[in-house]
């Protein structure tokens, strides 16, 4: 297992290098002269020259890449073209908001998706099953920005049950320390602020959970059906065990293994989906920031945030593989 873990970790390096080449090439996809495009109306030949020099665009392309990767390795993801701030600290400041949203969404998806998948598999072909299968396809087909709007309209505007934007009420005196608001409110035992933060979290996380929920429900169903057809399940049934014990104690553990992989794979779509969800709900995370930076043509932020998200996705997928190997004793990798 340890050898496998080491080997698997090394396979990440070429992928990360490839990803960095792709992200590096983003800036060269800008049509025309990137420096003038970035400066927009403020462009003069002198200023364009200065920007070109600052970004190293006057050097040979291979040298540019080496300079870029050298900076990235040292934690320098570039400097915002509009505001002049370094990109990485800004990303790290906004990332907790996105993590909070994404983690809540994946937990909702698991809590709803796994039971739906189990019920669907156990009562295969029933009305419940047909309904769950169609509903799973509806979930995968859902434009989450539209779902977010509908939720905000129904629960925020018409029923006035829940807030439709930001992480906390405006004018709150609560000051987060780690920027994980839920964690901070618990640590400071500020229960009113916790309730406020949770209320703000409901609508965006439900919107973001839709697609992973559908995918997890489908995967659980397929995996459960396969497990239930195994011999050891028939043996358990033949022993006279109740259906509940067979499903929950014998089948569920094995059936959930492939679901684990799916959760890992969903991290990418969650972070990409955050751009849309955060835009709708004015959620101050990376996604909304990327959206605003696209509007202000702050290419350095788009580039830096893309690299950051892609690296997280690659690393999470690797960790999922390792976890999979660790929890499934049947898998021998050495």
């Amino acid at each position: 297992m340890r050898n496998y873990a080491i080997r698997r970790s090394f396979t990440v390096i070429p992928v990360l290098l490839g990803v960095s080449v792709l992200v590096f090439s983003f800036i060269h996809m800008i049509p025309g002269d990137p420096a003038s495009v970035m400066l927009g109306e403020k462009a003069t030949p002198e200023r364009a020259d200065a920007v070109r020099k600052q970004l190293g665009l006057d050097r040979p392309i291979a040298e540019q890449y080496l300079l870029y990767i050298g900076k990235v390795v040292r934690g320098d993801l570039g400097v915002s073209i509009v505001r002049g701030d370094p990109v990485l600290p800004d990303i790290l400041r906004r990332f907790p908001a996105t993590v909070e949203l994404a983690v809540t969404a994946i937990m909702l998806a698991l809590l709803a998706g796994v039971p739906i998948g189990i019920v669907s598999a156990v009562w295969r072909g029933s009305v419940v099953d047909s309904f769950a299968r169609v509903w799973a396809l509806v979930g995968v087909s859902m434009p989450i920005f539209w779902l977010g709007l509908m939720l905000a309209w129904i629960f925020g505007v018409e029923l006035r049950w829940l807030p439709t934007g930001f992480r906390m009420e405006a004018g709150t005196s609560f000051q987060p320390i780690t920027n994980f608001v839920i964690l901070d409110t618990v640590l400071e035992r500020d229960w009113a602020a916790l309730v406020d933060a949770l209320r703000h979290l409901v609508l965006p996380s439900v919107a973001l959970a839709t697609i992973p929920l559908a995918v997890i429900a489908r995967m659980t169903r397929a995996s459960m059906l396969e497990t239930l057809s195994r011999d050891y399940i028939r043996t358990a049934q033949a022993k006279g065990l109740s259906g509940r014990v067979v499903v929950l104690h014998h089948a569920l553990g094995n059936a959930l293994l492939p679901v684990l992989t799916v959760i890992g794979l969903q991290v990418g779509s969650l972070l990409a989906g955050a751009i849309l969800t955060e835009t709708i709900f004015s959620w101050p995370g990376i996604g909304r920031w990327v959206y605003e930076s696209i509007g202000s043509r702050d290419y350095a932020i788009v580039q830096g945030a893309s690299l950051f998200i892609a690296v997280i996705v690659v690393v999470v997928n690797m960790l999922t593989d390792l976890l999979y190997a660790a929890v499934d004793p049947r898998i021998k990798y050495d």
């Binding site: 070429p14 992928v15 490839g18 990803v19 080449v21 792709l22 992200v23 983003f26 800036i27 996809m29 800008i30 049509p31 299968r133 169609v134 396809l137 509806v138 995968v140 087909s141 859902m142 434009p143 920005f145 539209w146 779902l147 709007l149 509908m150 905000a152 309209w153 505007v157 018409e158 439709t164 397929a222 059906l225 396969e226 990418g268 779509s269 972070l271 990409a272 989906g273 751009i275 849309l276 835009t279 709708i280 990327v290 959206y291 696209i294 509007g295 290419y299 788009v302 580039q303 893309s306 998200i309 892609a310 996705v313 690659v314 997928n317």
Partner: protein
């Protein structure tokens, strides 16, 4: 050569268990039609495709001169069944015309990706060795990126617009095609009928195009249907972020971008109908793709 072809054709394996006198395609079609879910998907997908083709033919629409500021944000009525938007434009008309843009972009980007992607996959799988390694590594890099994020980043760089969205969505869809067709080639290239065709003097191009490609079609067809669904969703997402179709073009995602500020005012119809059109068209292709998978791959039907 003529007899060689017929011998090679005669020993091709039967991919679908078909009743005597029934072609594999006909058998798959019968299985597809037998499923109510697939029938619903087929009807929805065809309905939206029809909408995209027929609407521009029977109704001329100029988004630039359509605004009527006297009737802004009217709720659905007999005159405007879907209501009017913030510029007084009839939403039903714009949703109908939006089908051409959204589906057109979805279908054409998938067409580009399918040709390029499966071409790359066929070559990688058939040539093997270093070509395979390099091509598939590039595909893995593209796959490492979340699709939506990559599309957004590419369009953010090369500039907003429909043509650039098409390019970005195609690039995102290429690696899956490459993987599927490569896997099919690796499975097929050592089967007897391919070896037989090679022994009969078939060249590489002939083997790939006449023998391997036709037999790797079923998974590619399924993927195409699902990819169109995803591409429609991406098109709408890009339009919603202001990166795809630009105003005043009638495109579903861009219509949502125009109107989403109005949700606080209770004007639900401005965003409900364009979003419902996105959802239903994507659902149609997804249902169809699911049905096709069951119909084309008898091994998976037990699931």
């Amino acid at each position: 050569m003529g007899s060689a072809t017929s011998v090679a054709a005669a020993i091709e394996p039967v991919v679908f268990p078909a009743a005597p006198g029934q072609s594999p395609a006909a058998a798959a079609w019968r299985r597809l039609i037998a499923s109510p879910v697939a029938r619903a998907g087929l009807a929805m997908a065809c309905g939206f495709l029809l909408m995209a083709v027929v609407t521009p033919a029977v109704h001329r629409y100029d988004a630039g001169t359509d605004s009527d500021l006297g009737s802004r944000l009217r709720s659905p009525s007999r005159e405007h069944p879907f209501g009017t938007d913030s510029l007084g434009r009839d939403i039903l008309v714009r949703v109908l015309h939006g089908a051409r843009v959204s589906l057109g972009l979805g279908v054409s980007s998938v067409a580009v990706a399918a040709c390029l992607g499966s071409g790359l996959g066929l070559v990688a799988g058939y040539v093997g060795r270093r070509t395979d390694l390099v091509l598939m590594f590039c595909m893995d890099i593209l796959l490492a990126f979340p699709g939506t994020l990559l599309a957004i980043a590419i369009v953010a760089m090369i500039g907003p617009g429909l043509r650039n969205s098409l390019l970005a969505i195609s690039i995102v869809a290429i690696p899956v095609y490459a993987r599927i067709s490569r896997a099919a080639v690796l499975e097929l290239r050592h089967l007897e009928f391919v070896t037989a065709a090679r022994c009969l003097g078939g060249g590489d191009g002939r083997l790939l195009l006449r023998h391997i490609l036709p037999n790797s079609l079923p998974p590619l067809i399924v993927q195409t249907t699902l990819a169109i669904a995803f591409a429609i969703l991406e098109t709408a997402a890009l339009g919603f972020l202001g990166l795809g179709a630009q105003p005043p073009t009638a495109e579903w995602g861009a219509m949502l971008a125009d109107s989403y500020k109005y949700f606080t005012s209770g004007a639900w119809w401005v965003f409900f109908f364009p979003g419902a059109a996105i959802m239903l068209s994507v659902l149609g292709f997804n249902l169809l793709g699911d049905g096709l998978r069951d119909a084309l791959d008898p091994r998976l039907r037990s699931n």
